[in-house]
């Protein structure tokens, strides 16, 4: 996994296909958080998907087309910031794998050097380690698997634990996957369901007021299971919590 080295406040925002289609609020929250930090944000309108679904399924012919499109959409020197550990991991690792020995390999490598997950960008790209405002709730933070080998999860912990009133609950067996895994969750429904149940049990064990995630794909899977089971603990992207804390501050200011 490549760690990004290129930072700066002029950025390109990658909303992710899931936020484009299902979680517009997460994209909005991320955008507003970045604005608050004084970023000059460009949203390239041609963006679609990072290409990970086909890459992970082994369909590299189709994956290369979509990754290639993404490389072109985000060309330039500016850092790319995305509210997803998984999409970031695709651009920092997966893209180079499926493009190895391909003409676009050097461009894939260059994009990897300037691709950040949102929380990691805030803490390690901008050096912001404490967050203003207030969020008086107990929060269980889900560690998504594609943040392994990065500073993403620790960055989120840094930011969340600095927020006034916010209490992080203990989550057991952080090493265990929630069972989403893209096509895995539909190809292996039984195993995926059991993995999801284990994750839900751990996430709600500390009786949190909400579950925070760095990846909407995981939340779509285990959240969908929670909805079916009428477990009414709301799921929020970390960006939404950061924004809520800011709004609280603006209210009291």
């Amino acid at each position: 996994m490549i760690s990004p080295t290129v930072s700066g406040k002029r950025i390109k925002f990658m909303a992710t296909c899931l936020c484009d289609g299902f979680y517009g609020d997460v994209a909005k929250a991320s955008y507003e958080v970045l604005e608050h930090l004084g970023c000059e944000i460009e949203f390239p309108g041609g963006q679609t998907c990072c290409g990970q679904p086909a890459h992970n399924a082994g369909d590299w012919d189709n994956a290369r087309k979509v990754v290639g499109h993404t490389i072109r959409v985000f060309e330039g020197e500016d850092p790319v910031v995305t509210p997803s550990g998984s999409c970031a991991a695709m651009l920092r690792h997966g893209a180079m794998l499926c493009l190895e020995e391909q003409p676009e390999a050097p461009e894939a490598r260059a994009l990897a050097d300037r691709t950040w997950e949102l929380a990691e960008y805030i803490v390690h790209g901008l050096g912001v380690t404490s967050w203003p405002g207030r969020f008086a709730k107990k929060v269980a933070l889900h560690r998504s698997c594609h943040t392994r080998g990065t500073k993403v999860y620790d960055s989120a912990i840094t930011l969340l634990s600095s927020i006034d009133g916010l209490e992080l609950t203990e989550v057991g067996e952080l090493d265990q996957c929630c069972g989403f895994g893209g096509t895995f969750c539909v190809s292996f429904p039984e195993i995926s369901k059991n993995m999801g149940q284990l994750k839900i049990d751990h996430l709600i064990a500390g009786k949190p007021d909400c579950i925070a995630t760095l990846d909407m794909a995981c939340a779509m899977h285990f959240g969908g299971m929670m909805d079916r089971q009428k477990i009414e603990v709301p799921r929020m992207h970390v960006a939404q919590i950061l924004l809520a804390a800011l709004q609280e501050e603006r209210k009291t200011a």
């Binding site: 289609g21 979680y23 909005k28 955008y31 679904p53 698997c145 989403f180 895995f184 539909v186």
Partner: protein, 470 residues
């Protein structure tokens, strides 16, 4: 409802609850012990893993040289070296060595490579008694079962099942006391050691510079297997080499901790060759059989990193899929993440028969994170998924959607935006999540889909930009 039709998923669904509980409990415990010992004993366990990875990778890249060096060293020590290209050759070599001595009885210690060649069944067919002396392997043998884990072969059984097996075989009356059960096996196996002509072991490491075999066990059965017999046979895969004796501290520091959370196993043996003249005990002759069995092809492929594996089992212990499905779901000697890569590549039925194994992973990456030689298992799984796709392996394609339509949408911003706007993005987002097909049914069975709100962020941004006069 959509039926699970991926074999590993349906195996997991049908797995008895007590088996799943045994596997889950034991693998979780070993994972926790692993984390605890590595973190308490070393400041930077990750540096150790990465160093070990480099040593093994270097060895693989110069395997031709190191194998010749190892052969020369072993011969210098008085051992005879044999080369076997496949299971049949390896088994036939064992039989020939035994026949030359007129030997009829073998005691063997645990060796996954001998599971791979199905040595015991082969010897029995040739009227040779071969007794497994590792406790777990012994239980597997009397039950006519197969190991479901490479380090703890009966992780899928509990003590009650073992007690019933021992009672059935006449080893002693039913008891649930582990001490009494162990004592029964010990009495039974003592007699077997003393009666045997030949001992066979595997090898955890072979050091090329000194020609020594390193063996780790917790039961001492490997020692007995060679102490009481005149002939020692070592069967080992060609990838088990390390260059130098001085590399062993690194690997032994990682192996026990990764496997069982032990700083060191109870017994660690370094076998230099047959007994020297003048010594009272020990095997008079020693044979080392190096087995290829598909490994050369793996070495030539883009999955060669899997040959770094030192067989600790940490990847299966932490694997959420292994914990649900258990080892037999993988249908070959090597289960779990390492097996999902290695088994399709070396099983005698060929790649298509096990092309579904690389699919049985959420690509969560836990396996690589715990691997003592940092094998990029998720990458290798994806490479094998690609191979399954290119070779149109039927087992690989079960329940996997096509990506052609999606790719068209995702490379055409106009289509993508129109889709979002018109609420038709369902056609271009990953179909697997959305399509009205068995896969989507599987999704809907246990989960609700969030409401589609395609394009809302883009509309919001457009409004915002308009207000700002952009």
């Amino acid at each position: 409802m959509a039926k699970s039709i991926q074999e590993i998923d349906s195996f997991a669904e049908k797995l008895p609850d007590d088996t799943r509980a045994s596997v889950h409990h034991a693998s979780k415990l070993k994972t926790e012990k692993r984390f605890a010992t590595l973190a308490s004993d070393f400041e930077e366990p990750d540096t150790l893993r990465k160093t070990a990875a480099r040593v093994k990778q270097h060895t693989l890249e110069h395997l031709d040289e190191y194998l010749l060096q190892a052969e020369a060293s072993l011969q210098r020590n008085g051992a005879t070296v044999h080369w076997a290209s496949d299971s049949e050759e390896a088994n036939a070599t064992v039989l020939r060595i035994m026949q030359q001595r007129g030997a009829k009885k073998m005691v063997k210690s645990k060796s996954m490579v001998s599971e791979e060649t199905e040595l015991v069944a082969y010897l029995e067919k040739n009227d040779i008694e071969a007794v497994e002396t590792d406790l777990g392997e012994f239980v597997v043998q009397i039950d006519g079962d197969h190991p479901s884990h490479i380090v703890t072969p009966i992780i899928h059984k509990n003590r009650k099942q073992v007690a019933r097996s021992f009672e059935r075989e006449g080893l002693g009356a039913y008891t649930e006391s582990p001490e009494e059960l162990t004592a029964m096996a010990r009495r039974h196996l003592r007699a077997k050691y003393l009666a045997a002509d030949v001992g066979l072991t595997g090898a955890n490491f072979v050091t090329a510079d000194t020609g020594r075999i390193t063996l780790v066990t917790n039961e001492g059965n490997a020692r007995f297997s060679m102490a009481a017999t005149k002939t020692l046979i070592v069967m080992v895969g060609i990838e088990k080499l390390v260059p130098r004796q001085s590399d062993l501290p690194l690997f032994l520091s990682l192996l026990g901790r990764s496997a069982t959370g032990q700083a060191l196993t109870v017994y660690t043996q370094f076998i230099g060759g047959p007994k020297l003249s003048g010594l009272p005990e020990g095997p008079e002759e020693m044979h080392v059989i190096f087995l290829d069995n598909g490994r050369s092809e793996v070495l030539a492929s883009d999955c060669r990193e899997i040959l770094r594996c030192i067989r600790c089992g940490a990847c299966m212990n932490i694997c959420p899929v292994y914990r649900q499905a258990s080892g037999h779901a993988y249908r070959f000697v090597y289960p779990g993440p390492v097996g999902a890569v290695l088994s399709p590549l070396i099983n005698p039925q060929g790649f298509p028969q096990l092309a579904d194994l690389p699919k049985a992973s959420s690509l969560c990456g836990a396996c690589q994170e715990v691997c003592p030689v940092d094998i990029p298992i998720p990458d290798l799984l994806v490479r094998l998924r690609r191979r399954g796709k290119l070779e149109k392996a039927e087992k690989a394609s079960i329940n996997t959607p096509g990506f052609g339509v999606w790719a068209s949408g995702a490379t055409s911003p106009g289509m993508w935006r129109a889709g979002l706007k018109m609420g038709h993005a369902m056609n271009y987002l990953p179909r697997v999540l959305l399509d009205v097909n068995p896969a989507a049914h599987a999704w809907q069975e246990h989960r609700d889909l969030p409401p589609f709100d395609g394009g809302s962020f883009r509309s919001w941004l457009k409004e915002k930009d308009k207000e700002a006069g952009k």
